[in-house]
Symmetry: C2
Subunit: 394 residues, 2 copies
């Protein structure tokens, strides 16, 4: 898929490792309407501060992103480095500095190697092409094992509107009102407030519902750029007949990227949906699902393909949500393993163990106490997660 | 050490595995004043419910404890099994049923094998001896690798008062107003309200400050039995001149047991103290220390002996406690690695890495924003933690 007026580029700038793509550029010749959602971690990286500030105007034209160094906890020098690299882009593309966003991901606390940016800016810009989407999707990866991209087309008001999205995830993943790096490009015509609202609500049910390890990053960022080249009728208020369609499609794109992040979580061998139903309120269901989804014991049992439902009940019991344990049903896929708080026995466990051998499955917890229902997406806790994170910087 | 009128016994009853001690009995010929603290997990095992109820009278004479099966999530049958086993003890020892407490630890959700208790009760009682303290300390273990015991003597009002404690821990350890199995025997003379208060305050700064994996068990229980045979002057109100001395000694015993639990956490290779100082309030310091102590990324870096302070700042930033990241100092042992939010560079990291090679060390976080200060004790996240918990039931 090609989006009109969007071009992309990535080069191997040697920011941390040699000979791997680590510096990417996304450029829209037509200034794009843009909205972002950022980490809620109090410790925010310099590029996050800068991009939050610049996105207040609701527009941008270019995004410079590097992997290998998060430019976080780097003080005034870090902010100067972020400003300096954005200036390099503005000069090379001859656009206003305020139209450039910057993003970084990688190790926290190391000074950014600004020379690597200076030395590679010409090559980066010269390489811009509407066919280089996958280059950037690769350049943003850290411990990810595969690039994560998605493409969608939807007809809005008789016009084909296209979406292309990319994301990186892996570790330090429990976005809390924000998420990891994800960039979504679209040619839709839509105004800033509508784009912002659509993104916020899409993130809430997608990126904000995934967890790899319960840790929230200093650099999380989801950005959507809409350059309007699809020439659909401007979606300029939320009552517009096409707003909902746009929002649904954006949510689908976010969900697919979010699930890809979980599947490629550090060391992950499985993606698991934790669904809590029958809670008093939706937010109770979410809180309980999140507690189960973050339990190391539950996640290690998934890795071992052990239908150890006692650990699920244990995690539920410390979730802070009140429930009657004698009314709890738990199913792995379509196998009910706990009925009214009591195990269904060895036959059920044997069948549940088969479900656990799958790459994806759902654990459904029914509290039988209301209509609140929510899902959270998680992965298993494997030996490789520990290996990766014991060795990450070496 | 021998405590007058206390006798103990353990046998291999084959509750889960053959040929290992798994059924223990603690008996005080003199009825003891007793106080307990129990799990705050909403899902409580049957023996926990029964023991909470019986301890309301502030006295007990015997405790029956098994490993291999938690008797949790076992419904009405589980409670009947707990009652039945306590009756077996009462009959064998010819004491009132209400003076018998029961405790279980092990797999959640399996029916308790009551026959194993029936078949072994005579042998268990016949084996009672004041020299068998270590037998019971061994019988309560699950994935623990070593028994955890402590002994202390303190002179109170001219009389030698003795304490003996045992504990088991390992996984599902983040006691929240309660803890794992720990039993403390003393010959002190003390009244129930004072014993209860002393235990509560000792647990708060010891067992409640440890974490292995952030999971709270369904079966946590700390019990102290004081049979008064030391004949110290009765500590019968909290203004008694000896109360504070008793409380301090009890706290020391609890702390030593708690640290032993962390050191023997599932797969643990190190014990780490996370100290947060300079917070606005003590409880802010505690909450932040707990968040850092539970971060998988921080704990995996400890396992890898990597002084990855960026992950510590990342965890601090999602702790919910407000702070100014530009005022944060972080030290590993006596090596300052972050000053005013910025890394001190490679030399400091090299020195910090040496500290990380130790079996025990302290990470000190100074927020420079007040006098609030608290410590939490944690262990590293190792490959063996995942191995143990992927395979636990097989």
């Amino acid at each position: 898929m090609i989006l009109k007026d969007f071009s992309l580029s990535a080069v191997a700038a040697g920011i941390k490792y040699q000979d791997r793509l680590d510096l990417g550029l996304i450029y829209s010749r037509t200034p794009a309407v843009a909205a972002g959602v950022f980490t809620t971690n109090q410790v925010k990286a310099a590029p996050v501060h800068l991009s939050i500030d610049r996105l207040k105007q609701g527009r941008c034209q270019a995004l410079l992103v590097n992997s290998g160094n998060a430019n976080a906890c780097t003080g005034k020098e870090g902010m100067e480095a972020a400003l300096h690299t954005s200036r390099l882009v503005a000069e090379a593309l001859r656009i206003p500095e305020e139209m450039v966003l910057v993003a970084s991901t990688g190790v926290i606390g190391l000074p950014l190697n600004v020379a690597a940016f200076e030395n590679n800016m010409d090559a980066l810009v010269a390489n811009l092409s509407d066919e280089h989407f996958n280059q950037v999707a690769e350049a943003i990866l850290t411990t990810d094992t595969v690039p994560k991209t998605v493409a969608r087309t939807v007809v809005i008001g008789g016009k084909e509107v296209n979406f292309m999205g990319m994301a990186k995830g892996s570790g330090m993943i429990m976005p809390n009102m924000a998420t990891m790096l994800a960039y979504i490009l679209t040619d839709a015509q839509i105004s800033f407030p509508e784009l912002k609202n659509a993104l916020k609500s899409a993130v809430e049910t997608t990126f904000n519902r995934i967890t790899v390890d319960g840790d929230t990053s200093t650099n999380d960022m989801v950005l959507v750029m809409a350059n309007g080249t699809a020439e659909n009728s401007w979606i300029e208020d939320s009552q517009h007949p096409d707003y909902e369609l746009f929002e649904d499609c954006l949510e689908e794109v976010c969900k697919e990227l979010a699930l890809k992040i979980v599947e490629d979580g550090e060391g992950a061998t499985k993606r698991i949906t934790i669904r809590v139903c029958g809670a008093k309120e939706d937010q109770d269901a979410e809180q309980m699902a999140r507690t189960v989804a973050n339990s190391n014991l539950v996640k290690a049992a998934f890795f071992g393909e052990d239908a150890n439902w006692g650990r699920i009940l244990g995690a539920m019991g410390r979730s802070g949500i009140r429930f009657n344990s004698e009314k709890v049903d738990i199913a792995f896929g379509d196998v009910v393993i706990v009925k009214n708080g009591i195990g269904k026995g060895q036959e059920a466990e044997k069948n549940a163990s088969k479900i656990l051998k799958n790459r994806h499955f759902t654990v459904c917890i029914d509290l039988q106490d209301g209509t609140g229902c929510e899902e959270v997406y998680t992965c298993d806790l494997s030996i490789d997660y520990v290996k990766i994170n014991a060795d990450y910087r070496s």
